[in-house]
């Protein structure tokens, strides 16, 4: 960590940290934050909808159990194998790409789509973001007790009023804390993006990887400064996460 503030000749300096605000590192941070925000929000929304669909009244219990087990696996199925699975699916010669080209006459690669871009990374990250959301939000949805719903409708509340005045206020802290967690999860990811693009999309972890593997030689302390920058972002994330977590755990017994 101290290395981030050292110059190549061993003296102390803030130059390395200042360099983070210049190109190409500024873009790396911008890309990383963008990918993390998009996947945290989309993952949060889809995860919530899927988890709620599985837990709400009327859905057979077995679906809930199956979903929890499967989410546990999918949230852990990341890194190199995940990237490879998506290359088989949506890569240039992937099964789905071939299907779309042959059966629908629409080759997504002719229309500007590529798996090996930021959009591609976001699609792949959602594969572990959505299950993580399902795992962390399920207890909060369980906390929305059925009695409250019945009490609300007994007092003449419509479904919209229930969600406006009861459901959303109770779920909101859990939802926010889960999205913050998802943001950090995607911000720190290295292996998946590397396996997918071999580093052609400049994210912060990928750039640090280049420094460590010796592909960039100029100043080793810059790599440490980048790591320090990541640490600051993730630290801020934790500072937002802990109080939200405290509020949201109030409704969970």
């Amino acid at each position: 960590m101290i290395g981030a503030f050292q110059s190549p000749d061993g003296g102390y300096t803030l130059d390395n940290v200042r360099a983070l605000f210049d190109e190409p590192y500024r873009t790396a941070f911008k890309n990383s934050i963008e990918v993390s925000l998009v996947t945290a929000i989309l993952g949060g929304v889809f995860g919530l909808l899927i988890a709620y669909s599985a837990i709400r009244d009327g859905t057979p219990r077995v679906i809930r159990t199956g979903l929890t087990t499967f989410s546990g696996v999918a949230a852990n199925f990341a890194g190199i194998p995940l990237a490879a699975a998506f290359i088989s699916t949506l890569g240039v010669l992937g099964v789905v790409t071939e299907f779309m080209t042959k059966q629908l006459g629409y080759n997504p690669y002719d229309h500007g789509f590529s798996l090996f871009t930021k959009t591609g990374i976001e699609i792949v990250y959602l594969y572990f973001q959505i299950p993580l959301m399902i795992l962390v939000i399920a207890p909060a949805i369980d906390g929305l007790r059925r009695e409250w719903r019945e009490a609300a409708s007994g007092l003449g509340a419509s479904s919209f009023q229930f969600w406006r005045y009861v459901g959303t206020p109770i779920l909101l802290p859990s939802l926010l804390s889960a999205i913050v967690l998802l943001f950090g999860n995607s911000f720190a990811a290295y292996a998946t993006a590397y396996g997918l693009t071999s580093g052609s999309v400049g994210l912060v972890p990928i750039t640090i990887g280049f420094f460590l593997s010796g592909d960039v030689f100029d100043n080793p302390h810059l790599g440490q400064a980048l790591a320090f920058g990541m640490f600051v972002v993730l630290g801020l994330m934790m500072l937002a996460y802990i109080p939200l977590q405290k509020v949201s755990s109030r409704w969970m017994r």
Binding site: M1, A75, G79
Partner: protein, 266 residues
Amino acid sequence: MTPRRRIAPSAVIWLLFGAAYFLIPLLASLLVSLRDDQTAKCCTLGNYGYILHDHQFWSTIRLSFIVALETIFLTLLLLVPTVYWVHLKVPRLRPLIGFLALVPFVVAPIILVVGLLDVYRGTPQWFYGEPYGFLTAAYVILAFPYMYFSLDTGFRSIDVHTLTEASQSLGAGWPTTLFRVILPNIRAAALAGSFLTLAIVMGEYTIASLAQFNVFSVYVQYVNQNKGYPAAAVTLLAFAITWAAMLALAAVGRGRRMAPVAEGAR
């Protein structure tokens, strides 16, 4: 209001959407893994044969497995007595340790490896140059939160004070109490933490690749870059390992609510 018996239509749509998103990549990998390496025609098991006959596959998987066992052993050795002591004598420290356990989430693997390569530079070769030394040390840090939260849940569900006093009034010393009274009671929690650690270590790529150790995930990436169809086969084998660890986890954790969330592989 009578509770709805039927499944809601919107729920069906979302669940189908989720199922499609998660099953299609797996199905696609399966189809690709069955193609012939020369003619790209379906169906052959040749790609699986190629992987299973590759001695690199077995040697890297063995290395990862040994590192995983070593990590599990060291983490348990460090944490079981610590968590026991905290629960018994200084419960005030529990929030502090809970906070410390969040540190590996802030210091992500990619940050950790930058620091560790620097800090351990100059340590003896048997440590710095060997996966059993350097890599295990790094993985103990990664495994700490998962093992801690798992054990903490386990210890909270038993009455540490009564068990300890009962054991001591029967004349048992500390080692006997720890090994013959406490350990059997938290066995499920310790196993759950161990399976999570196993899943993390078997999938971890960031630290291993940047510290240049040839473990299982590095081998998967090598196949991924150099061979087309066998890559899909080895992907499914890696997926099977994750499944096995998670199913084992679900089996030991039955009846208790636990969120198996691992971050090592990212």
